[in-house]
Symmetry: C2
Subunit: 403 residues, 2 copies
DNA sequence: CCGAGTAATGTTTACGTAAACATGATCCCG
DNA sequence: CGGGATCATGTTTACGTAAACATTACTCGG
C-alpha cells in the first residue's frame, strides 16, 4: 500500500530519514573480511517486472529507504562514504578486498548514483538541450535522433523542448526554460527569423549551436548545404537539356526555403536562362499539389524543382491527374530524399540530405564547447548534399525548344 | 495557486547575468526603503547575442562566478536567502516592498534557480524519460512530440534515449541509464518482444508506461487500438463487395504488426471468407513494393490491406507498374494516415491513428503515477482509430465473383 | 629499528535549495 | 494595557556527492 514511494517521502508516514544516521560500526572493528557472503538475501536477482513495478512495499523491515545513498552502501560495507565514492568513480587507491565489499553492497542495495547531487557538486549535468519547432518533419526528427544517439555515446542525455506555435515569445520561453533546466548546452533547430530579435539569455557557460539558420555571424551554425543542393538539382535539369526550371518554394519564413530559392534563381541566372515566377508552397504535399495544378496549365514548363519531397509528391499527383506524364513531359526534382521518395510514382530524383551528419556535427561542436569551456567562434559548418537521380527526370520532350 | 509558473518567473529584460558580481551594499544599512533605484547599471538591457556567446571566459575579474545563487541575490537585496527562496517560489508571507527588492536583485543578477539543487532537495526532477527504438517512423516521432508538448505543459521536460540497435541488451542498458538519469518516470516506446525477458530494474519510485506492446499484464500500456483499426479496414473492403482481403504484414517482431494481422484474419474468419496467405513486409515502402509485385500476379486479388502507409505506397507503385489500376482492379487500404497518404496516386484510404492522443495519455498516466506516488495498476489504455476513406478503394471489378 | 614516505581510508566541508524551526515585531481584544 | 495570535523574516539543517584535508598503517632505506 503506501509504498511505492517517490521522493515525496513524507505523506506515506515514513519517518523518511527520521531514524537518524547513527554510525555504529565504527571502523574500530575489522574493516576487512572480504567475505561478501550475503547470497541468501531474499530478493531474487531479477523479479519479473523489476522494482519499478513493485514499488518497494515488499521490503521486509517495513522501513524502506526511498533512495539508496552512498551512506547506506557505506554502512553496509563497513566503510566510509568517501570510499564508496571512490569505488563508484573508479578512483585508484582502493584496495581490492574493500572494493569488492563495496561493490557487493552496491549490488545488494541496488545503489544508483544520484545525478542531481552529482550535478550540484560538479555544476555539470551531462545533458544537452534541444529546442525545435516540430518533430513532424522528417528532417527534424532524423536530426534529433542523430543528436540523441551521438550524445548518448558521449555520455550525454538530451532534453527536448518542442515549440508548438513558433512565435518569438515561445522561442524565448523555451530558452528561458532551458536556462532553468539542467543542461550544459543548447542546440536550437529553428528557423532563423525566430532568433532575429530574440536576445537569448542563458546562464553563463551554457553554449548554443543553431541548425537551419544563417545566424553564422552570431552563433555556431551547423546546416545542410542548402544552396549547393539546390544548385545541383537545377544544374541536373539544365544538363538534361531543359531550357529553364520552375520552382515550388517552401514557406517564406524558412531559411532553408529561402536559401534553396536563392540558389535556384542564381543558378538559372548564371546559365543565362529565363527565371520563371516561383510558386509559393509551405512544405506540405497539399501545397505541392496546388502548385502542380497551376503548372499543368503552363505548356512551356518541362522541369520543376520542388523545395522538398512532400511538395514533389503533391506535384506528381497533380501532374498525373492532369495527364502530364513524368518524366515524359515534365521532369521533377525534390529535396530531402525521404525514404518514401524512391517509391513515388515515378521514383523521385531528389537532393539527399545527410541529417545524421548534421546531428553528429552539432553534438561534436557542442561538446567541444563544453569541454573547452568556451564558445567556439561563430561560423557555419555546412554538410554536403548529393543528388539522387531516379526516374522522375529525363530530357525534355522533343517538341520543347532546346536552349 | 498563485504563480503557476514553474521556474519561468520573470525573465523580463534580464541583463543576462551581468558580468561581475561585486557585492557592495552590505545589508548593514537600510534593508528597507524599497527604493529599487539601480537603474543606472552599466550593462545594456539586452546584448545582441546573449551571454551564451561569450561563454564567460572574458569576464574581467578573472574569477567569475558561474552561477548566481540565492545567496548572491539575498546579499544584493539585503535579505536572507530564505526570503529569496520564498519569493522565488511564490510563497505568501513576503511583504511587497521586500518582494520587489528581491525581484529587482534577481533581475539584476540574472538569477536562475538551480534545478540540480532543487532536484536534490525534493527528490524530484520534473523530467520524464522516453526510451524508444527509432524516431524515424512517423508514429514514433509524432508520439514523442505529443509527449514532449504535454509534458512541457505540466512543467516536465523529457529526456530521450534512442536505442540504435534493438537488442534486449540495449534495452536493458537504456533502462539502466534512465535509472541513473534524473527522471521521475519512464515511457518506453518499444516492441514488446524487447521487454519480454528483460527484467527492468529502475530505482524505486520511477514509474513506467509502455507504448506499442501488449504487456498490459505487467505494465501500464497505452496504445492505438490496433485490432479495431485493422478490423475497420477489412470490414470496409468486405462491405464494398470484395470476396476477401489480402494482407501485407509488418515485421514479425512488431506487436502492432502482429495485432493487425491477427485482427485481419479474425475479421475474415468471422465473415466466413477464405484467408489468403499473408505477405511478409517490414514497414518499408520497399517491402510493400515487393509484395505488390507478387500480388500483381494474383488474378483473384481485388483488395489488399497493407499494415502501414509506406508499404501501401510501395504497393501502389508496384501495381501501377504492372498495369493494375487502383481502385479499378485492386483496392488498397493502409494504416497510420501519414500526412502524405492523401497525396498518393491515388489518395490512400487508410486507418487514422491518433498519435497525439497516445502521447497525451502517456503523459497523463505517468503524471498520475508520479503524483499518487504509486504505480497505476497494469492495464491497457486503447486509443480509438478511424478509417479515412479516400480514393484507393472501390467495389471490385464486375468480373470478380461476388461473395 | 627508526623515521620518512606512501598507500589506504576516514572526516570535514561546500554545492544551492527549502522545510522546519526560531525570532522579533505588530496587532487585536478583553 | 497585557498577552496571545499573527506576520515577516532570519537561522539551522538535510538532501547526496566528492574534493580537500586528516589520519592511520604499513614499507623501506639507512
Amino acid at each position: 500500500m503506501e509504498a511505492v514511494n517517490r521522493g515525496d517521502r513524507e505523506q506515506t508516514g515514513t519517518p523518511t530519514n527520521g531514524d537518524v544516521r547513527r554510525d555504529d560500526r565504527g571502523q574500530a572493528g575489522t574493516p576487512v573480511g572480504g567475505n561478501a557472503q550475503r547470497g541468501d538475501r531474499e530478493h531474487p536477482g531479477s523479479p519479473i517486472s523489476g522494482s519499478a513495478q513493485r514499488g518497494g512495499s515488499d521490503i521486509p523491515g517495513g522501513r524502506r529507504k526511498q533512495r539508496v545513498s552512498m551512506a547506506d552502501v557505506a554502512k553496509l560495507a563497513g566503510v566510509s562514504s568517501q570510499t564508496v565514492s571512490r569505488v563508484s568513480n573508479g578512483h585508484p587507491g582502493v584496495i581490492d578486498s574493500t572494493r569488492e565489499q563495496v561493490l557487493a553492497a552496491m549490488r545488494e542495495l541496488g545503489y544508483r548514483p544520484n545525478s542531481a547531487a552529482r550535478a550540484l557538486r560538479y555544476g555539470q549535468f551531462n545533458t544537452i538541450g534541444v529546442i525545435l519547432f516540430s518533430l513532424a518533419s522528417t528532417g527534424n526528427s532524423r536530426t534529433v535522433e542523430a543528436i540523441a544517439t551521438h550524445a548518448a555515446a558521449e555520455g550525454y542525455a538530451i532534453t527536448l523542448i518542442p515549440i508548438d506555435v513558433p512565435t518569438q515569445d515561445n522561442v524565448l520561453g523555451a530558452f528561458t526554460r532551458m536556462g532553468e533546466l539542467a543542461v550544459d548546452a543548447v542546440i536550437a533547430i529553428i528557423e532563423i527569423y525566430l532568433l532575429d530579435t530574440v536576445s537569448v539569455t542563458l546562464p553563463p557557460g551554457v553554449h548554443v549551436v543553431v541548425v537551419d539558420s544563417d545566424a553564422g555571424d552570431r552563433y555556431s551554425v551547423v546546416d545542410t548545404n542548402q544552396a549547393d543542393g539546390a544548385r545541383q538539382a537545377v544544374r541536373h535539369l539544365l544538363d538534361l537539356g531543359h531550357r529553364t526550371v520552375w520552382h515550388v518554394t517552401g514557406p517564406r519564413t524558412s531559411y532553408a526555403a529561402q536559401s534553396r530559392a536563392r540558389a535556384w534563381r542564381a543558378t538559372l541566372e548564371e546559365a543565362g536562362r529565363p527565371v520563371p515566377p516561383a510558386l509559393p508552397g509551405d512544405w506540405s504535399a497539399e501545397s505541392g499539389y496546388a502548385a502542380g495544378l497551376a503548372l499543368a496549365g503552363e505548356p512551356g514548363c518541362t522541369a520543376v524543382f520542388a523545395a522538398n519531397d512532400q511538395m514533389a509528391l503533391g506535384l506528381l499527383r497533380a501532374l498525373h491527374e492532369r495527364g502530364r506524364t513524368v518524366p515524359g513531359e515534365v521532369s521533377v526534382v525534390g529535396f530531402d530524399d525521404i525514404p518514401d521518395s524512391a517509391y513515388f510514382v515515378p521514383p523521385l530524383t531528389t537532393v539527399h540530405q545527410d541529417f545524421a551528419e548534421v546531428g553528429r556535427r552539432c553534438v561534436r561542436q557542442v561538446l567541444a564547447q563544453i569541454r573547452d569551456g568556451k564558445s567556439s567562434p561563430p561560423g557555419t559548418d555546412l554538410v554536403p548534399t548529393s543528388l539522387m537521380v531516379r526516374r522522375s527526370t529525363a530530357p525534355p520532350p522533343a517538341s520543347a525548344p532546346a536552349p
